[in-house]
Symmetry: D2
Subunit: 429 residues, 4 copies
């Protein structure tokens, strides 16, 4: 989906940097941490390192390099994620049973593929443009898996009763003072006809295309994300028990799993709330920080409790273009390394970075959405049912991977990503 | 959600007619047929007869009639469907275990409540307007259950290996001749800003409100429903096996349940396809009839196979207003009594009646949707996640119950309703 | 397994009487009660009535009557229970979904088969001896299903929140006085070599054969069954929580299903215990009556709590031959019609009748057990794993069906039969 | 259950040797292999190493060493297996999600506990006799886990599509020649009264006690184990499809899991059978080797197919005392290091070692079985329901751990242990 093909040298450098970053993210791990799958949604870090490599080998090297010999044919079966077109593959829920190929083999596989890709990029292959486009795609694919690496590592460590820190120290929590009821300030955004979708030369996914117009009523969007303090108020107000705040499917989800707080939250005997953070391990919940690890069900119920609603993805995109249109380093991306949502500097909108913001839009194709043919048509286009759109990126997203039109999507019960919310409401008539 | 309150006498007559119709729909049943629940989605006919009665007793009589004595307090527990606000209730999947209250008791319950409602409507109760509004609501609620009665009875009889007919004879099937590939004719509908939602004085559900504008591109909509013949072509072209036609969730659904044809279809040893119909029992599949008992997954895959897509609910509503805006007796409603989709008369669009048409719109609230307070807020508003919208009504829908703005909704795997599809595509640029 | 073939006239009369009794047991039912299957172990009464009839048609009439025309070929599929050798059959858990064949058809099926059987028995068929033997087998098979009819009807009515009585009045409960700790009196039975298994000319099942010798140590067996009063003491002593009293599988069963009392027991707000009885519906638990509806897990835990153990089936049989060897009408059989365990007359041992007594013997073949060839080999011989033996018959067993060597068997978690226990212990050395 | 307390020095040496052996068994593993749990029955090797250590710390050091400081209090939660009396513990099925404590920590834990145990044994503690008895118990406990280590490692490696060898080479497979139908030679063993259970001063488990007499008829026992060749004949004779050979529960197990061969068997495109072995990885199935990795269901069906039956545990014990009463190094124990069943030397009976032999005896207490009080009562006594007895030990059992009276037990569907069978039949009358 690239439009603009970068220079070879620049592409080689970017490729190498992103590839190194995946391995760097795993540096704090112990060998044991690379292997397990404590939840079907969570893949072993070792698997991520292999899968993103298979992507380059399978879709680039095996396709374009004459006589290319795969590192090990048998790895296809392990590292194909869900591509029906690419043959049989391991059952997803069995990834965590596979102790082999071992980490050392996966790292050797990475080096083998990296060398071949760099060599190919440096060659005068007649299809170099097409190859470069696929490499850019593979880089973005690997960046998506870098975010998953962070969240999957968090799940592996954060559900272990020893609560081992991933390394580093947590940013200091502010004083636990009066929370106050949620009284957020709102921007008012003018409605009318707005253009939605990715334009311009940069990279985007297929699901951002089908640029089209959407008519919106005037609406209001909160100036800040919902905080832990506000969420604690919701909990204290029996938010998890009051069915009238919930979708029926949501309250049945909460009851069935006995959910009474965000993921990774624990209460001690005195009633204090702690949550696991990658930096520093178990920490007191800071009421000033943005709330995260919420399912759509919880976000939706919180919004109703607050007398508001979630924005649609169209409202969000329009507001983002107006309020926070540029990705820059001052936002809370994974590049900053804190890997946890931080209370913003004064007057920062945080639409980009910090947490993925649940919207009340189902993940559906845009008008004239071009579902690609072949394997890449399996990338985004076959998941367009029963998922909800999230916008904005998070503290685990690489800065170079994101933009205001980016559409992330998850099922309504998922909350191991850095997911949060921002309130919206209709403008007064 | 009524706007216009009917005259008392007219309301009494309408109430009585609808109440009689529920019992009449069950006349062809044997006593055994009233009791069972062969699938969690299917409720016993006896339960439907009781539940719709409880609705009137609980929300009208118990609320407004001074000193009203319930027929039997214990029936609340049996006949509350899902209203959290109305107290504990039987586990939905246990409805089919309850042999008592027996049918005779349920019928006596109906008579008791009917008499009290008619008396109340004939009184000079100071809240008569509000009461009348609730009675209209209850009538529409009962009509929804009449459609469920038809489809649940079909499931009970149609999954029995004796394939007992519900009574009556099937409309004659046309000759099984060449099917031809799908080459439907299309209407072209002009885009632009359109107003969506229910206006005017008649009854509507809350989910049709929040009248708002939607911007659409020009689009094309098939002049006719997809037929069995076209669907057989899809099957013959290995439609159920070609993953590239499906949403991933859809093909996993089909594989997991070994789905290879619409619900109620069976193939004999010679490869001929039969399907169960209420009238006449097992019948040869008529290629000229509209296809039905399809899940959203199947409808979506068929549309992709045909090089088209499903319409959005907004496209459908706009087209319906232009092409087939009026509900009338010539359409294929339950009132006609055939209870099966029929091939249309020449040039009939069939947007209204015949089969519910799957759209590619998720069931979400309209802008400024007014989720009601109290029990009625549980009616539509708590199901607005992970369901898809269907439009137009079916051969099992009472004619007086429906309109072009009516939004039905089911999960993507459901297909025991009379569900089908109509192809759409983008207008050429 | 008959040895002694009865006279034709006597057999005809016995056949007719047993056949009438099955229908008579259903007389108190409403039509709705015949249809449902509220638990996979529970079959609809309509199914029982058909299945026992199929047994005669399939194994006798279709085999021995030249040119016999089945009542309806399609009924085989419905009424074959588990005989692999007899072709495909309905999934057991779907029996309760089948509203057809309706009750009237099943009753007509019974009459058709009864007439044909009686005619065959009155004929001079050359294989009359073999036929008579099969008819005796079929009678005993039907008597087993009569016991299941009683227990399945109890489940259908007793798990309905209306607690409808099956008819009749409960035997008066004695005064609820001090329960006392269990201090049962014991018989001491001499060990040594004992002969086990059925001898003599009467009917028995294959699993009672393989008469063999067993060496026993001296042992003690309680003079009476465990009572509700004693069981209430166990409950009051936190018997369901103390893991050291239980098999691990047992306490996990109790925890998983939140079992805290025998089946059919409910506690009111004041803490009084009630239980459902067929006669009279919900009744105060009478501490003097024998405890029933206990799983093996509960019986085993109770025995350990009481400082005792369950007897083996061999100990039980030896004791029964000495203490209560003859089946007679004074015992608590279904023929008495109370269909509930009764406190015994003074000095009555109750080894026969009242409740099935759990033993600590696994259901395994006796030495030289003759697993029959063909369909009858499927009767008892294919269930000889993971079941425990019960002895003695119950208040739901027909008197003419039982004897001291009779081996009943159920999985350790089953408790919808009239199951109870009698304590045993080793004789002092 | 020790009777004879060994000398301190000898006990210290034995303790150290067994402790070293657990770690030695893991030497061929890669770090990844220590962590996973590909089946709920399979524990991670890292968990085994920790659990056996916890056993010594918890039941010996924490009980008897004044002021003993645990290595890390938090490890109790990880390494308590199923002792309710010892407090809360990790859900069994979550063992494979725990990457921490890491292997290095577990090894340090082992060293800490080993040093403390050796010091305690060398002290003049007043309870040294009792301590020594517990240490002997702990050694046997660790040896049981050594067998589980072998079988769990086999599962981890043998279900990986790379089939990595554990190291070493497989013993050469003999030529694949004509298999012949099973025509085993039999010993005839005289019946009568026999004494069963462990006598003498050596160690035994509680479940071998309750020495008692059993009366047996004369019987015959095969001179050799069932071989792969014989089992291939059973398969070729449609053994997995012929329901009359099976217990109903067994054939439903086989159908439900699509079982058509022993565990670890795979067929290549030409129909050749291979199976995974620890030594050498995937190997051709050698028809001369004893069959293994069979469930009780399969063993039972095979025996019926062969016109025989399984022996009871009493028959087996009586025969073992006569034919193969002494444990010695020539038998196929884990000490030999092959870790796979081997075809025997001529005239070797193989009752001891090679494979565990399924019997047709349920695992029930012997008469006067002394279920111990406290935690040790949880060791064997709470598993005495729905398990079958196996006898004789296997190629994965340490030689010093076993004897002819040893009762192993597993559920009928388990087959990841080295389980096989030997045919029995009644002696001719």
């Amino acid at each position: 989906m690239t439009r603009q093909i970068p220079e070879t040298a620049s592409l080689q450098a970017h490729f190498s940097a992103v590839r190194r970053q995946s391995v760097a993210l795993c540096q704090p791990l112990r060998p044991e941490d690379y292997v397990v799958q404590p939840h079907p949604d969570v893949s072993p870090p070792k698997w991520h390192l292999g899968h993103v490599t298979w992507f380059f080998e399978n879709f680039v090297l095996a396709e374009f390099v004459e006589g290319y010999v795969r590192f090990d044919e048998r790895l296809n079966w392990f590292f194909n994620s869900y591509y029906e077109s690419q043959g049989p593959r391991i059952l997803r829920s069995s990834r965590g049973n596979m102790t082999r190929p071992e980490l050392a083999t996966v790292l050797a596989y990475r080096e083998h593929v990296d060398a071949a890709v760099l060599e190919l990029l440096g060659s005068d292959h007649p299809a170099l443009d097409q190859i470069s486009e696929l490499i850019v795609l593979g880089i973005h694919h690997e960046q998506q898996h870098q975010e998953l690496l962070v969240t999957d590592i968090k799940y592996i460590l954060g559900t272990n009763p020893l609560y081992p820190a991933y390394g580093g120290a947590a940013a200091g929590a502010g004083p636990v003072e009066g929370r106050g009821t949620p009284a957020p300030a709102f921007h008012t955004i003018a409605g009318g006809l707005h253009t939605i979708g990715h334009r311009g030369p940069g990279f985007c996914w297929d699901n951002e295309l089908g640029v089209h117009q959407v008519y919106l009523d005037d609406f209001q969007l909160a100036k800040s994300l919902v905080t832990n303090g506000e969420y604690l108020d919701f909990m204290a107000d029996r938010g998890y028990e009051r069915f009238e705040l919930w979708q029926m499917e949501g309250i049945e989800w909460a009851r069935g799993l006995d959910v009474k707080a965000p993921l990774y939250w624990n209460q001690d005997a005195e009633g204090n709330w702690f949550h696991y953070q990658l930096r520093g391990g178990l920490q007191v919940v800071d009421p000033a920080q943005p709330a995260t690890h919420l399912s759509w069900y919880e976000a939706d119920a919180f919004a109703r409790w607050a007398g508001c609603r979630l924005p649609t993805e169209f409202e969000w995109e329009v507001a983002c273009r107006q309020l926070d249109p540029e990705v820059h380093a001052g936002q809370n991306w994974s590049d900053a390394g804190q890997l946890h949502p931080q209370a913003p500097a004064k007057d920062e909108s945080q639409l980009l970075g910090t947490v993925w913001e649940w919207t009340n839009s189902a993940y559906l194709p845009y008008p004239r959405y071009p579902r690609p043919e072949g394997a890449l048509g399996e990338y985004n286009g076959k998941f367009m049912i029963n998922q909800m759109v999230l916008r904005g990126g998070s503290c685990a997203t690489p800065q170079s991977h994101i933009r205001p039109t980016y559409r992330n999507f998850f099922q309504a019960d998922k909350r191991w990503q850095f997911t949060g919310l921002r309130l919206a409401k209709d403008a007064p008539l």
